[in-house]
């Protein structure tokens, strides 16, 4: 009999692999690796803000919702800054530093609010946001991940070709009647939402790696789009599942193992490619 928490972890892994397996090649081709850096700050800010509100309103489920809203607001701000002429790097730099500053201030407020309340498991929650722990995914977390993830996955799938064209030639999209700015905004919202949905399973620290490397590996080993998507999906899934198995027997955080495995695979491929 498989323990229930392992089943939940397996289902969460499959959902994470579907979402990141398809998103990761777009992140690589569109050059959004730096955006995932801003996601880190946005999600952490959202989580801290959510925890303050959770304590004040005595509603623990607010954490994920506030993190999601904060992240979407921040990625839209980045897209708006790009729209008015900032380069993507500048837009991310300005927004991420602003979010980072607010996060530090938020921690100060959080500690003061925590001091006025009886015990509440927020310290553990902060750690799970940073490192991720797929074994701690609750049934309500899993429900939100699967329901939200399914909606976002179909949105991503429907617009996949448009995002490829946007990566290839944004002026071309504009020139032939598409609205490149709207596509960019939608893509950023999808990236932010996926980040917010999966952060509890993979963790903030490793999210940047898991969102980038499977796509980078897939684009390195294949030129065919279908194969790229398949390699990206199966790479993410294999790493997620193997990290669950290893973590179960070694008690090491699974997201840490996943990141190390991906780093080794990418490093070996790079070495072979250069050799």
């Amino acid at each position: 009999m498989i323990p229930e928490f392992i089943l939940r972890a397996l289902l969460a892994s499959i959902m994470v692999s579907v979402l990141l397996g398809f998103l990761s090649p777009i992140i690589n081709t569109k050059g959004l690796a730096f955006l995932t850096h801003a996601l880190f700050h946005a999600l952490l800010f959202g989580a801290v803000l959510g925890m303050i509100l959770a304590l004040l309103l005595n509603s623990y489920s607010l954490v994920m919702i506030v993190a999601l809203v904060a992240t979407v607001v921040i990625v839209i701000t980045i897209a708006e800054l790009e729209k008015i002429g900032f380069t993507p790097d500048s837009a991310v730099g300005i927004t991420a530093s602003f979010a980072a500053g607010l996060t530090v201030l938020g921690f100060g407020i959080l500690y003061k609010v925590m001091a006025t309340r009886p015990y509440f498991p927020l310290t553990e929650n902060i750690v799970s946001y940073l490192t991720g722990d797929i074994f701690l995914v609750s049934l309500s977390d899993l429900t939100l991940l699967v329901a939200g993830g399914t909606v976002i996955f179909f949105a991503l799938l429907l617009l996949y070709r448009d995002f490829l064209y946007l990566s290839f030639d944004p002026e071309g999209v504009e020139s032939y009647g598409g609205n490149a700015r709207v596509y960019l905004m939608v893509l950023y919202v999808i990236v932010g939402t996926i980040g917010a949905l999966i952060v509890q399973t993979v963790g903030l620290i490793t999210l940047q790696v898991i969102a980038i490397l499977p796509g980078a590996i897939a684009l390195m080993v294949s030129n065919d789009l279908r194969k790229v998507l398949a390699v990206s999906f199966f790479t993410t899934l294999t790493v997620q599942l193997s990290s669950i198995v290893l973590a179960y027997y070694t008690a090491i955080p699974p997201s840490g193992i996943a990141t190390i495995i991906l780093g080794i695979v990418y490093g070996v491929l790079l070495a072979r490619w250069r050799g």
């Binding site: 070709r161 448009d162 071309g172 020139s175 789009l225």
Partner: protein
């Protein structure tokens, strides 16, 4: 009808002028070759006509409309090296891009009508049978012809081409020039082509415009490509030389050549 009309057009970036006080008219069906040194304002003029750049004073009209209201009439062909070739798109997918954005927001599948039309346009530019080749694996001349095919997918009345011959070897330049000639003769599309090397395009161009931050000369090639005009744009070392019944304009790293005599 006038395809493009500019009156006192001044294009600027952040208040700094890139091209000043340009006035010209281009009739429908004619091809204009736009010449000038680097930084002269060629791409700025092209992007303003295409509605990619909107900071300008004066008047500019495309078929009697403001550029941004005439987008469906315009096909823009960028320099191929400005594209992100990390994206694994096939030749057919690149060409189809020119035919899907007039309808709908999400384009998960390319409609079969668009695929059929894309195959026809690929045949027109001489690349039939290359539908499934990856764009990034094609030669420079083939890529340029793919981009021309993509522009033709929207049945434009005005084609804007930014340096279509840059970084191509002589045979590829001739291939692209042949396709441009075919577009002019068979589809009667008005074209504006920026170029550093006018030589392969003289058979296509009806008019030549020389600019260098302002309009230097505009008219028929034999009237514009004179020693005096070319020196005023490219400096005192530029020369116009008659060779074997043709005229070559030596302008530094490259030369301009026209038919006729001095």
């Amino acid at each position: 009808m006038d395809a493009v009309r500019a009156e006192g057009l001044t294009i600027s970036y952040g208040g700094k002028s890139a091209l000043s006080d340009v006035t010209f008219t281009l009739e429908e069906g004619k091809t204009l070759l736009l010449l000038g040194p680097n930084g002269a304002g060629k791409t700025s003029l092209l992007k303003t006509i295409a509605c990619f750049h909107r900071e300008y004073r004066g008047k500019i009209e495309v078929f009697g409309r403001k550029p941004c209201n005439a987008r469906e009439l315009i096909g823009y062909v960028p320099q191929s090296h400005s594209l992100n070739e990390r994206v694994p798109l096939t030749a057919l997918e690149v060409v189809a891009m020119g035919g899907i954005y007039r309808r709908g927001f999400a384009h998960f599948r390319i409609p079969s009508k668009v695929i059929e039309k894309a195959k026809g346009v690929l045949n027109f530019v001489g690349l039939g049978g290359m539908e499934n080749r990856l764009f990034r694996e094609l030669s420079g001349g083939q890529k340029q012809r793919i981009l021309l095919a993509r522009a033709l997918m929207s049945d434009p009345k005005l084609l804007l081409l930014d340096e279509p011959l840059s970084a191509l070897d002589p045979s590829a330049r001739a291939e692209v020039a042949n396709v441009l000639s075919k577009i002019k003769n068979e589809k009667r599309v008005t074209m504006i082509i920026t170029t550093h090397d006018i030589n392969p395009l003289l058979g296509v161009g009806d008019l030549v415009m020389l600019i260098n931050k302002r309009l230097i000369a505009f008219g028929r090639p034999e009237a514009v490509l004179t020693d005096k005009v070319v020196k005023s744009v490219y400096g005192p070392l530029a020369r116009v030389i008659p060779v074997g019944g043709r005229v070559y304009c030596i302008t530094g790293d490259f030369h301009i050549h026209r038919g006729g005599h001095l």
